[in-house]
Symmetry: C2
Subunit: 399 residues, 2 copies
């Protein structure tokens, strides 16, 4: 069993937490001075652990193990959402350092901009060969509008080559992460072995009615786009539980009534609606019902509804052999205190899973808080998690 | 029967339409240069009709009849919503001029800012003694923030005295207006005798849930404020038809989910909800059901809902004798082509009705369009309307 120096692991996490510290969390937007400082810190730590550090043209930091393989690739991202938590991506990167220190044959990676300040997952996508130069030309910061090219220039990354997958080098990719939910906490469990990363189907529902004065138009005359939207959403709420799976989720994140004034009947309503499940068959079943409900709404209502997909991701299933290794490690180190579970959120692992076996390990989030500076996890859970990760890696590599 | 020069009436309307012309409508925000030009135009027209014009310290223009009474007060407002229609308030003011030209003993008024660029109805409220200096100190433009005091200063109105009701002078107030709906048009009628101006009950419904990541939180764990709002609105939609009156209206003008992002379960939902009826008893019955539905929602849902009144106006009933005079005039000039009907929108008449008998006459709006530059009414309907107004005024005054 590999011996992880958990005290050192926690000390590294706390050291990194000082870079861009914000309240009890961190503020390290992608390519900001704080983010670049954290990348330099990481490269120094990698060297200290005996890895060969490089930073590439998109900001990915890779620390290569100097010894013979088979190797595992271990990591996550190091930038944060604005004024967000200290763990999130940082945890998976620092866990990689801990495994390297424990003598495991691992390469450690910090993928750039998983958090989507510029594009979302552009580091891991670049590494797997899924990010064209034209897309880099096109992207800009979603908060302040700076172009990605300009940001790369200012960060000193412009012109550097981009790293890509080295065929045959890695037996798999491992990512440790906080759960970002309360399932482990409420079940009083300490470790989650991730079965897969859910597919996210994002839709826009647009209802077209007739904008009218709320005083001058009788109920019978109205074509109230907002009311048609409310009725469809209420139908979705009634029907979806009969077709969903045990872990399916659906969310209405925004309802926009146009023009949105007290005395005006909305002529247009727009709904952001999202569906998540790790099982494609369940997603297909729910989508079928969604389309049927939209059709029924179009037969019943005076305001036609158009259902448009905004983005449709596919589920990324975790590698069964890696899951098995992690599950055995969890059972050995925390008997009865772990479970299999899907990841409802997206992670770099979903892109790595396209080119190599990939798996994820979750530790609990206190109160499920995520993407907020108050995000936290008990230190004993962090320490247990990294030990399970190391033991799982060793088992998967047959060490 | 008074002889109205309808050609001159239409010519006046078209002349006024040139001031602040925008496409086929007008843009005359309160106290803007265009609005002040229209007030000066009106004062010149009043003098031409033999009236004594004054403008007061809030911008009200009043043209006083020089002969003996009993007098009627006739008018509306002359400013417009932004980029709005050419008729709206202007129609009622120019109709007053037409009655004066026809020799009727009328004072003609243009009340300032009915459209609420600064406060809403501040001219008619000032005239009936319901606008304190402290409120004038407090108000500012809802679009660009200029204070009302500053606007009055720039318009040359600061320091002028404000006109108020002259006890005993007026037997009543008459306001002609476009319908701002399609009830006359769809019934193929040409005149509406208004029974009263509806009460408007404006509420805010606030639902408090728990903001969470849409991927990390199971359906069972969620406290989705948006979903609780949708469920209550669907219940309102089911229940209100069983308690409403024939002309009741209710409108959800805005739904705000907070934070309003695709992947975040709304922690808070805010709904702007409005109820209108001319009958207080019906309003009371609907409000009782609304409160019951909110209570039921609070028993059933995990996200508590708070119902807050934002503004509660009372209905303004039109004077029965004035209604009778207008109805007889309508039947004489347009037999079978008129109806009694409530006004779903607010008008200056609702404030004048607090201090004297008041009544309103509606003409059809083409396609019900209102508060938009495309607003229009057939010229023959405008001409018929002003004749009915004159005849009704004469009958009410026993001339």
């Amino acid at each position: 069993m590999p011996q992880v120096d958990t005290a050192r692991f926690l000390a590294d996490l706390h050291e990194l937490r000082q870079i861009g510290a914000f309240k009890t969390g961190v503020h390290r937007p992608t390519y900001s001075p704080q983010d670049m400082e954290s990348r330099r810190w990481l490269m120094a730590k990698m060297a200290e652990c005996g890895l060969n550090p490089t930073i590439d043209g998109i900001g990915n930091v890779l620390g290569r193990h100097k010894g013979p393989g088979p190797h595992l690739l271990v990591g996550s991202h190091i930038e944060s959402q604005n004024e967000a938590g200290w763990l999130d991506g940082a945890l998976g990167v620092v866990a990689g350092l801990a495994l390297a220190r424990a003598g495991l044959p691992v390469d450690v990676a910090a993928w750039a901009d998983e958090e989507g300040h510029y594009g979302g997952f552009i580091g891991s996508r670049s590494y797997i060969g899924d990010l064209a130069e034209e897309e880099i030309d096109r992207l800009s910061n979603r908060y302040h509008g700076k172009t990605l090219r300009q940001a790369l220039q200012e960060a000193g990354l412009a012109g550097k080559p981009r790293l890509t997958v080295e065929k045959g080098r890695h037996k798999g990719f491992l990512e440790m992460h906080i759960e970002q939910g309360t399932q482990l906490e409420s079940a009083k469990l300490r470790v989650g072995v991730v079965t897969g990363i859910v597919a996210i189907r994002q839709y826009k529902l647009t209802f077209t009615g007739m904008q009218d004065h709320a005083g001058g138009t009788t109920m019978a005359e109205r074509r109230d786009a907002g009311l048609s939207a409310v009725r469809l959403l209420a139908e979705i709420d009634r029907h979806f539980p009969t077709v969903c799976g045990p872990r399916s989720t659906w969310t209405t994140g925004r309802i926009t009534l146009d023009p949105g004034a007290a005395s005006i009947i909305p002529g247009r309503a727009e709904v952001l609606f999202q569906l998540r499940d790790v099982d494609e068959a369940i997603i297909a079943r729910i989508e079928e019902r969604l389309r049927a409900l939209v059709q029924e709404s179009n037969r019943r209502e005076k305001c036609p509804c158009v259902l448009e997909p905004v983005s449709l991701s596919v589920p990324a299933l975790c590698d069964p052999a890696m899951q098995k290794a992690l599950a055995e490690a969890a059972e050995a180190l925390a008997p009865g205190a772990w479970q299999h579970m899907p990841s409802g959120a997206g992670h770099d692992a979903q892109y790595l899973a396209r080119v190599m076996p990939a798996a994820m390990l979750f530790v609990p989030s206190i109160n499920g808080i995520s993407h907020h500076w108050a995000e936290d996890t008990k230190e004993e859970d962090l320490a247990l998690g990294v030990q399970v990760l190391a033991e799982g890696a060793a088992r998967f590599l047959d060490l």
